[in-house]
Amino acid sequence: MITYTKRVVAVVALLLWGAAAQGAWADAAPSFEREIVPILRAHCIKCHGPNKPKAKLNLASPRAMARGGESGPAIVAGRPADSLLWDQVSKGDMPPRPEEPLSAADKESLRRWIERGALGLPDPAQAGPTAATWDHWAFAPPSHPRPPAVRDARNPRGPVDAFIERALEDRGLTLGPAAGRATLIRRLTFDLTGLPPSLAEIRAFAGDPRPDAYRRLVDRLLASPRYGERWGKLWLDASGYADSNGYFSADSDRALSYRYRDYVIRAFNTDRPLDQIVREGLAGDELAGGRRGPGTPPEVIDQLVATHFLRNSQDGTGESDGNPDEVKADKYAVLEGTAQIIGTSLLGLTIQCARCHDHKFEPITQEDYYRLQAILYPAFNIEHWVKPDERMIIAGPAALLLRWEAHDKAIDAELAALRRSFVTGSDAQKKAKEEVLKPVIEKIESRRRPNPGRIAGVVDVSADPPEIPILVRGGYRTPGRKVGPGVPAFLADPDNPYRPEPRTAVPGSSTTGRRAALARWLTKPGSRPATLLARVLANRIWQDHFGTGIVATPENLGYTGASPSHPELLEFLAAELVRSGWSTKALHRMIVTSAAYRQSSAPRALAERIDPDNRLLGRYPLRRLDAESIRDAMLVASAELDDRPGGPYVPTNRTDSGEVAVDPSTPGARRRSVYLQQRRTQVASMLEVFDAPSIVVTCTRRQPSTVPLQSLSLLNSDFVAACAARLVERLGPERDDCGQDDDRIDRAFLLVIGRTATGAERIAAGRFLREQPARYPGSARPESRRRAFIDFCQMLLASNAFLYIE
């Protein structure tokens, strides 16, 4: 083990050395991305950033840098002496604050970069003075790039591959060879459904001679109801979904949030257009035109349920106590959380930073922030607050609601009759009788059922006030200037105005139309906000197929987010998403049928050297199964998965040992992980240890960790051991006990890993099964053999071959 550690350390050192060495080779021309941008970010863009830049010079975007500021161009490529930027820096006038001076090395990098042609900046002629609001690529109008020509035309491929291959070719690389069928079906089935393929499915695909066998497999998986359970969960995480209120320790229950979870899963399964899902989430109630109550049609019920998107934020106001200031702060926290969820999951922007002050690195002003808050305010009115449990809409099929109402009224009548007949006489007598009646009344009351039409949705509470205060420094006690509803100025265009249309048509359900206007603005075809939305969503979908987004920071596509590895591919995918009518499944199909997706994950020497992080995708990235897939696949391997969809969550509980688990006797204990209780402070241990999020605000990407606690769970948890024991029962009868175990070994590999054992694996397994029984000296032969087989199956479930998709 010591040797091992040293090796890892050595590898780390080598990698770091490599990075440093690359810097040294770049002596001729410093890299704009790697060296110049960091210097500018650290020292310049606090003043010369996208937000109200000093001297109108914005050094945060290449385009704006090329354009220069009010004193003219800042950089003349090749001529440091004529470049205002170098003039200011070399004289020491910039940066002006002496406590953060540029180091001599930084200065030299800047000078050299200009001298060698300021590579990375566009031609100033193209930078144009008119486009200041979209200096940053993510805020620009759609560009519809055409797939580039690739040199290797032997294998004509689809548009996705053209972009990928072109970038590889530019570095002297190629796509890898195609993966084998067994690898492909396992990869694709986990990827699209979160579950492994069945033996029958593996055999059918392996033996399918039709040329379009793979395309048929894609179609089958996209049509599977299991698809929505995986991709819906990713959307739920991004939307901040949880079954509890969070905020305070109580982390109280959200008993009805499951209806939103089911809505999302259903929406993905039916390929509901993503722009529609977004509109319904922001303003389903307003789109429904105020309809609710008995007889509401199912599509309108969906719209109302969808507004739970705006309730995903933590909300402690059901538990708030203390002085009015703090109760107020708790209410504001709901508005702030909701704004952050919208910013992160839909706009890919860190708008929450503009709560206390104008954003330092993005073109978002504090006013923009409070304009967005003013859009939400009528639904979350601080002065007319509705606590989460009381925030209910009643809507449903007429028969269902009327039946419930009749039942409830019958109970009322029964109670009234009881009271009338018994509670007479003096006060003392009444009291005595009440005591006697109490258990009877309780029994009758216990027959009440909750109204089946309850929807934990959002509606406007009031239209007042029309404007809300900007909070100075974000403080609730320091209201400032007032602002009305509106959208961020840097995304506002004359042909896409934000225009709320209040509705008062339906009595008792007047609404300001502010959220519907936001939804329309954000999804207007061809507009800049809709293009940003498409980029954010296409990037996340790509990320969830390949492990890393084209932009590695899916929560932040702004100036401070990571740069896209394949900018034109992202533009292309975003445009395709819109062109297909925002069809998620169309985008999946385009991605998973690409050769980039279908290639082998085996490393190749040249690619490993030139692109060790595999950002260019010269191989399919080996990926660990996510937490839900690990648990669900173990249940599949032991033939126990309960695949009933939907409905209230399966409760988890904290055992004496501190483990959060589902009691195996609970109904639905073996249902898919997406249906387990998603309590923020009580995530099932088996899932949490494998990086399932305990949602605070949102989660747009998971960081797979590798920690020893995972090893302990795989070795010692009851759950894994029980799956292994039941898996053994699926291996068929033992032929004899002389070590002829090959069939059972192969079957176990097929059930767990989706392929038969390799020669080396079969030899290792055979030896283990011969030797292991003797290590249970207390047990008689058949029992020790059985134990050895359980151990064998459990180690398969703990192995990297199971945990990783190749």
Partner: protein
Amino acid sequence: MTIETREPPDSSPFAMNRRAFLGQYAWAISSLALASLLDQERGHSRAGEAGTGALQSGCAIARPRPRAKSVICLFQHGGPSQMDLFDPKPALSKYHGKPYPGTLEVHFDKQAGNVLESPFRFRPHGSSGTVLSELLPHIAGVVDELTLVRSMSTDSVDHETALRLIHTGKILAGRPTLGSWVVYGLGTENRNLPAYVVLGEPDGLPVDGARNWSSGWLPASCQGTPFRSGDSPVLHLRTPPGVTRDARAGQLGFLDELNRIHLNRHPGHHELEARIANFEVAAAMQTSVPEALDLASESETTRRMYGLDDPTTREYGTRCLLARRLVERGVRFVQLFLSSQPWDTHDKNAQTLRSLCARTDKPSAALVRDLRQRGLLDETIVLWTGEFGRLPVSQGKDGRDHNRHGFSLWLAGGGFKPGYTHGATDEFGYKAVEKVVTVYDLQATLLHALGLDHRKLAFPHEGRLDTLTDAEVTKAKLVPELLN
């Protein structure tokens, strides 16, 4: 090897993503992380004149090589009452029962009453002459080891948000705690034990639960691992009954073989290699954790010192003793919690304090004394604090309400100045007025004592390099007077 800690956020899509890289691996490797500061500083101080070299880190003061290697935080949930424990205020007796002459920020505004004196006697102790309450006779015995801060202030009077402030630097949930930052910066010295261990009360979780030891957006390997009492201190630590030692060895051997066959197809894949190694670490933990928690080898004298012979002090004393055993074995950060928030004395203030001190005073003092006796105190910081303080007036009949403007805490060891009292509150003990120390200043100073610069220990988050103290906003600054 030097690793630049202050790296730009992943500006280039092809730059190695440190989070992806370090986030992956076991705690052992995260130490590599980002110890650059430490390396630099230690390197520089070694290179310069011993003990006098100015530090490269940009810290405000020059210090010799940092002494502190680990931290034991005795966290006191609920807000201990400073004027009844550490901060004597004769004015309270003078005004007792009279209206408070001024304005107070109160939490439960309808229940605020008149000035409430402390029923406890105070007197000076030790050669430092530090004045302490009669509730702390044992802490009084080690007072010359302590740095007592009487001028703490924080920005929230809500428990949860104040807890997040002192642990994570912001009121919002979801940020990394001090312990996570320390582990991120320094790693561990014993990879067979978690680097950050949480010793909770067997009765249950403290208020705000696991968020008190969350790694937030730092790598998962930086989060606190709660050790439970009972025979499985870490989840799934015990080999299931019936699996013999030999059988486990056989299992691990077979698993290793399978994983190496798999690795052959992906040679040099770091994550796969780390996962293979983790099974060995896990197996080692199965022995090392129970060993660390087994008190059998502790002498009768030690047990008595921690109060293990007395039912009142046994539980807390056991955990204090375990804390010492863990830092002795290279654990970086140990944090003790109480279930719920017992110091939250909205009523029965005096009575509650009496019983809490009876439980915790002796073991806390024993920990300081024991660390000193074993030569561990110089390299171990002991921190005793709650999330805020309490008001000089009564709440209801006999309680005290929350107070963010003034509270007291103590530190010991790890380069903190022994026998020193820092700052003061006003004459009622309401507001810190002299040498005010904010929770952010405390964080900056703690990190500094460990050789870490609070402005440089950073991690890319939401497009910028985020830090524990976010000094630009919070104005966090070192408090050099607290240190030797």
